[in-house]
């Protein structure tokens, strides 16, 4: 048997789901739209019940992709029972969905969740009386405290066995007659769930029109004559109002409220401060700063900076070869580290041991076997897994913000700014998370309801330079300063971050006016009450992300690292290039490798960016570094190290990569604008494989290839502009003129298109409809609307 959980967002469905299924939960994707559908099994009844957690929705009308998904699931897949999870503390609005579910013929059981909160507020709900009035089983539960759950499942099982007739809540109203007529017309056409479709037809639901001509005719004649003293000829308003009337007649009477003194609740008090007119934004900025500080800072609370620098362990006479000391260095080395950095260090400390073990194991085999295991498999994997702690730390903080209800307030605070770019305030969170790592940021875009907004956001997330790109910035900035003796490394680094943000803003505006055209997504959003985040739900969140990430690391990333290792370790004539060096194997002849040959072939492509053909014999290294950066961005500087060694003839390795960069600069004769263009290119081009895999999973089918193209084109253009303007300042005028011409062209084109659309020559409607029907396209709900 299949039971589906349906309910408003924030009604505690996921908590109930976890309580029902234990740890058997897994995350799957729905076809067409990437909205999580979780499935699990409840085993405590006479037969195993599979539980499906539908996305949180407010109604079965086609407003967001989630609503269409849930609606199609209920109507087409026909679960044996719907468990309608209702937030008992916010009964009225939650039951609006219930009235719609009752119009289908699927058995429904109402789970009055969070009953404990209602009781502790001194209120009470008479479940038996609701049940008597509506004929739908009602079970008060607390998913969090595991109360009433087996009772709920027993009632649901009974309901599934007995079945249910659709409930018509409009029979006594002015539209009762027409709904019955339409229903009969639909029954004549053998439509399942005739009552549901009849009500939706009277509501003029866009998914329903154009399917049943006879029934629609009845509706049309009725609507022409319909006249209500309160609503005029407005059928939709009448129906919405009738639903709420039904709710207050049948449910609200059973809700006994303790007489309340007009006192502010805790949630109100918190809200007063957090969305304060003056302090709201500074508080938000402070929270962001603290989160990033705790995740990424290598000097917790600035203790070391304030003390004027604390001694490093090495300088204090510790033996750095001692395992205990290296463990200590995970927490403190010249400064106390932040929790995020400590976790990263600890994981790397463990991984290092695995690496050493692997090296020992392979020592007796042929050279290439050792290199394959250590450099090919482990090297890439460890580089990617090494990021997991910081990603999870960042994710933990953002989950706390989300669970507490603050995230919705952030959207509220910032919507004004984001609307200017054609986005809504909800797009902010994924973007700022991008500074940490693109992967959790892209996953976070699921909170955006509008598909176009999601695509634009996923595309610009890599421009918010992530943690792995920072080494590229610092190494090259350091190289510029020490080789050319100009500028300040920090200024260069910061301006690169800024350039990334500017690129993101410009491309979002560009997309909003070209491929992602559409109205600015509306912003009608519930602001949930503040709640204390629950430890268990946070951990489940994290565990899900970990699984997701680790799975990717062992599939696509592993394959790609092996490929890069192979290409860089063998020459086109299959000769193994690595040699025994002082510190293990070194690849001094990478320029003879297949990768080197590929680098030389693609090198001319980068000429407009300043690191192509003009660089002479060794110029291909920049091309190769950019290619290896596709696997993981930290490979860029690592490749510099290997290639610098090949050029210099000895191993050049420093912690920050500055010396390698200097070697590369002197060998190739690259200019400052060329180097800056190189940074810019790496920053805005296709992100690492892990992020690409995430983007592919998060985006609708067919969108990913355009996204990759978008990254390539953007990075190429921005890199070229930076190089040209940096080398010959007067080209600025040409660039500005071209940008202005493009802008004018787009504006004129859009005006013309709008004019044509207004005249009905261009089918503008079709574009809109597509936006609504972004489901699989094959189900019955879409058939009437296929283009």
């Amino acid at each position: 048997m299949n039971f589906a959980l349906a309910g408003n967002p924030n009604s505690g469905k996921t908590t109930l789901f976890n309580a029902l299924t234990g740890s058997t939960a897994y995350v799957g994707n729905w076809p067409g739209v990437t909205v999580d559908k979780r499935e699990g099994v409840y085993k405590k009844l006479s037969e195993p019940i599979s539980i499906i957690d539908l996305p949180g929705i407010y109604s079965l009308s086609p407003y967001t992709p989630e609503e269409i998904v849930s609606r199609n699931y209920v109507l087409d897949e026909k679960p044996d029972c719907i468990i309608n999870v209702v937030d008992a503390t916010n009964l009225e609005r939650n039951l609006y969905l219930t009235t719609q579910l009752m119009e289908t013929s699927v058995p429904v059981v109402i789970a009055l969740n969070m009953i404990d909160e209602v009781e502790s507020a001194g209120d009470s709900i008479n479940a038996a009386s609701i049940e008597k009035r509506t004929g739908v089983p009602v079970v008060p539960i607390s998913a969090l405290r595991n109360r009433g759950i087996s009772e709920l499942m027993k009632r649901a099982y009974e309901a599934a066995k007995t079945g249910r007739e659709a409930t018509n809540i409009f029979s006594d109203t002015a539209i009762g007659g027409v709904i019955n007529e339409v229903k009969d017309a639909l029954i004549a056409e053998n439509v399942s769930d005739p009552l549901f479709h009849a009500v939706k037809l009277v509501e003029k639901d866009e998914l329903e029109t154009g399917k049943w001509a006879a029934a629609e005719k009845i509706v049309e004649t009725f609507r022409e004559k319909f006249q209500d003293k309160n609503f005029g000829n407005d059928c939709e308003a009448f129906i919405a109002d009738a639903r709420y009337k039904y709710i207050s007649q049948n449910f609200s009477l059973s809700y006994t409220k303790k007489p309340k003194t007009e006192k502010l609740t805790k949630s109100d008090k918190a809200d007063r401060v957090l969305t304060h007119r003056i302090f709201g934004i500074p508080i938000f900025l402070a929270i962001m700063f603290v989160i990033f500080h705790l995740t990424f800072s290598e000097d917790l609370l600035f203790i070391s900076a304030m003390a004027g620098g604390l001694p490093k362990l090495k300088d204090s006479g510790f033996n750095m070869d001692n395992a205990g000391v290296t463990l200590l260095a995970c927490f403190y080395d010249g400064a106390v580290f932040s929790p995020g950095v400590i976790l990263t260090n600890l994981l790397n400390w463990v991984l290092e041991w695995i690496n050493v073990l692997a090296e020992l194991c392979c020592a007796s085999g042929p050279l290439w076997v050792g290199s394959f295991v250590v450099d090919g498999i482990l090297g890439g994997l460890l580089a990617v897994l090494g990021f997991l702690p910081q990603i999870l730390t960042l994710f933990l903080f953002f989950s706390i913000l989300e669970d507490s209800g603050y995230m919705a307030r952030v959207a509220f605070l910032l919507d004004r700014i984001f609307r200017k770019f054609g986005l809504s305030g909800k797009a902010f969170m994924p973007m700022i998370m991008g500074f940490g790592c693109s992967i959790p940021a892209m996953i976070n875009t699921r909170t955006l309801a509008d598909e176009k907004e999601r695509v634009s956001t996923v595309r610009v997330i890599p421009f918010f330079s992530c943690g792995a790109k920072l080494p590229i910035l610092t190494a090259i900035a350091g190289g510029i300063v020490s080789f050319f003796g100009v500028g300040n490394a920090d200024v260069i680094t910061y301006s690169m971050y800024l350039l990334g943000i500017v690129t993101a803003i410009v491309t979002v505006i560009l997309m909003h006016n070209t491929t992602m055209r559409g109205e600015i997504p509306p912003f009608i959003m519930e602001l949930p009450s503040y709640r204390m985040p629950r430890f268990m739900s946070l951990m489940i969140h994290l565990w899900d992300k970990t699984k997701h990430f680790v799975k990717k690391a062992f599939t696509i990333i592993l394959a790609s690292t092996v490929l890069i290792w192979f290409l860089s370790s063998f020459s086109p004539s299959w000769q193994f290039l690595l040699e025994e060096g002082e510190e293990g194997l070194v690849n001094l002849r990478m320029n003879e490798s297949i990768l080197g040959s590929i680098g030389m072939i693609v090198q001319p492509l980068f000429t407009p960016l300043g690191f192509g053909s003009q660089l002479g014999a060794f110029g291909w290294v920049f091309a190769v570094a950019a290619i290896t950066g596709l696997v993981a961005k930290e490979n860029v500087i690592a490749t510099f190290g290997t290639l610098a060694a090949a050029i210099a003839g000895t191993l050049v390795a420093t912690e920050d990569g500055v010396l390698e960069t200097v070697t590369m600069i002197s060998a190739t004769g690259i200019t400052i604008p060329g180097l800056i263009a190189f940074i810019v290119f790496n920053m805005t081009t296709i992100p690492c494989f892990a992020a690409c895999a995430t983007a592919k999973g998060e985006l609708k089918k067919g969108t990913f290839k355009w996204t990759v193209l978008f990254w390539v084109v953007t990075s190429y253009l921005v890199g070229t502009v930076v190089y040209l303007v940096g080398s010959w300042w007067w080209t600025l005028f040409i660039v500005a003129a071209l940008i202005a011409a493009a802008a004018v062209g787009i504006i004129l084109f859009n005006r013309r298109r709008d004019r044509l659309a207004a005249q009905g020559i261009l089918p503008k409607k079709r574009e809109r409809k597509k936006k609504v029907h972004n489901c699989c396209g094959d189900c019955s709900a879409c058939k009437g609307h296929k283009d």
Binding site: Y58, F231, A237, T275, P522, F523, I524, E526
Partner: protein, 77 residues
């Protein structure tokens, strides 16, 4: 007195008279409980002047001024 929700000041109370929005926004407002007859209390304006926060049917809803403009209200004295 009648005016749109956009013109409300914080802590002003009123009853919804009608919705002038069309299509999706109109449907969304109904789904969120903004129906004729519903009581709305204006709570606050976001720091940057938009959107606004209101209380209705026992919960908090945030919407933009452009959307609030479509909600006709009868002001309660």
């Amino acid at each position: 007195m009648e005016k749109t929700l956009k013109e409300f000041v914080p802590s002003e109370k009123g009853t919804v008279r009608g919705i002038t929005a069309e299509g999706r926004i109109r449907r969304r407002l109904f789904d969120m409980g903004v129906t004729p007859g519903a009581e709305i209390v204006m709570k606050k304006v976001a720091p940057l002047g938009d959107p606004i926060e209101v209380t209705l049917r026992g919960y908090e809803l945030s919407l933009r001024k452009s959307e609030a403009e479509c909600i006709l209200m009868e002001v309660e004295k």
